[in-house]
Symmetry: C2
Subunit: 308 residues, 2 copies
Amino acid sequence: MAVYGGIEGGGTKFVCAIGSGPRDLQMTRFSTEGPEQTIAQAIGFFQSEAPKGGLAGVGIASFGPIDPNPDSKQFGYVTTTPKPGWAHTDFAGLVHRALGVPVGFDTDVNVAALGEHRWGNAQGLDTFIYLTVGTGIGGGGMVNGRLIHGLMHPEMGHLRVPHDRATDPFQGCCPYHGDCLEGLACGPALEARWGQRAETLSPDHPAWELEAEYLAFGLVNYLLTVSPQRIIMGGGVMEQSQLFPLIRARVQTLLNGYVQAEAVAGGIDSYIVPAALGGRAGVLGAIALGEMAALGTAPAVGRQPLAI
Amino acid sequence: MAVYGGIEGGGTKFVCAIGSGPRDLQMTRFSTEGPEQTIAQAIGFFQSEAPKGGLAGVGIASFGPIDPNPDSKQFGYVTTTPKPGWAHTDFAGLVHRALGVPVGFDTDVNVAALGEHRWGNAQGLDTFIYLTVGTGIGGGGMVNGRLIHGLMHPEMGHLRVPHDRATDPFQGCCPYHGDCLEGLACGPALEARWGQRAETLSPDHPAWELEAEYLAFGLVNYLLTVSPQRIIMGGGVMEQSQLFPLIRARVQTLLNGYVQAEAVAGGIDSYIVPAALGGRAGVLGAIALGEMAALGTAPAVGRQPLAI
């Protein structure tokens, strides 16, 4: 049976895996250093650990911004990141040239969405949103059965949302936008606002009600824009499971009966849900993307796509 | 050559057309009364005016909310509208049974987006947003080459956006959400805030700067959610052409260099544009949808779709 390589390349750590799905995953992880060293370490893992016959394809879930456009000369690159050394790195190209197999490439959140679509809570859906709330806030997902790209890729964390400075004087911590959604509701925003790390705030701390309010603004805006069949939430902040009922209630309040689809009006508990794959959504999605790269059903460095 | 019927069914007026595109359109318009009478009037127009051989298909651009899901028993219906008599009207079914041809059915804004895609400013794009700003605010468009549906259809006018009540104490006029985007920026909101009809405000009135600010919040949020290749704006309020430069500048300020794609960072004048088809986008889109219904490339009442 063919096996694939998956790379979840994050700004602070890399997770690499070999396998064909959740049941046979062989994983490793290491911290993210400069691009040459870190990508070489990923390549070395695949070279030493891949079974006889090698990998049929590799998928990369990359931190960004990236160029996911297969018609671009920079397809497969990390582009303008401020992370030292990484700007304009030919991430997918380096992996392809070392391993000689097709390499699929997308954003970390789109690939995590793909993982949830293949093996998690988005199975069978063609339009859904995957939002991760942690050090930053990122969103991806599918519309009409394919990952969202358009001009580039979504940057859903940076939506502008209502911010009542009378009740929440915190200015927001986004270096670009101040009080965009990420600036108000990412993990570091919680820490800056309340003076303690988010995971040390008790489950009944008022921080969570406010956090749910901001996240609900984001969710309502995604919902009204693409009409997803489900919204999946992951990331470190969402490990605070008390957030889910608070967010669901707040979304209902904000919609105020306007969206009468039963999934939203009556079934909100199965409409806004945690990632089924938890922290493995990204690397499993990368395995799925590696398979699609091998089959030609996703754009890949080193393989012409089929007509899809 | 095959010709098609198009119905732009609005809450206040109906526009019907027969033709195959912008060059051969035969149109009529009449006010929207009860569903039986109004739909019969549309059917009568097609029956008396269609050329020998009849229409190959009909497309309907309907006010909403509607059910555009071809797998639903209510496909083709106007659903829960407060408009007297129209709730749960089998709009597409009535037209299909009278004319015996496939009938495509979608929201007014999605169909206008389709018109712009076929003959207007979205030609060749696979991911774009079409926003209409008038009596209400509605949005539609395509992602991955197909109209946005998901669970139901977009309701982009109702996004929650920042609202500084110190500088703009107007409470908003949306009956569901108060100060959502539509509540703050639709035509009636302008009239309520400034005490005169929008079209009577002079082009240098401060109303337009504020209007541009709200619309830019919406556009930035759509942009960050689906990464459109272009945003097209139509509707009565957007006939105030001084709004375009104000909106473009405000979008740039809000993004603050975060989206570095050249189309946004450098080419904003051709990124946020008026509808090329103007007020005919809806009815021309309905003609295009009628053709797709006939060909089986869009879901239609009275025809099995091709595998698409």
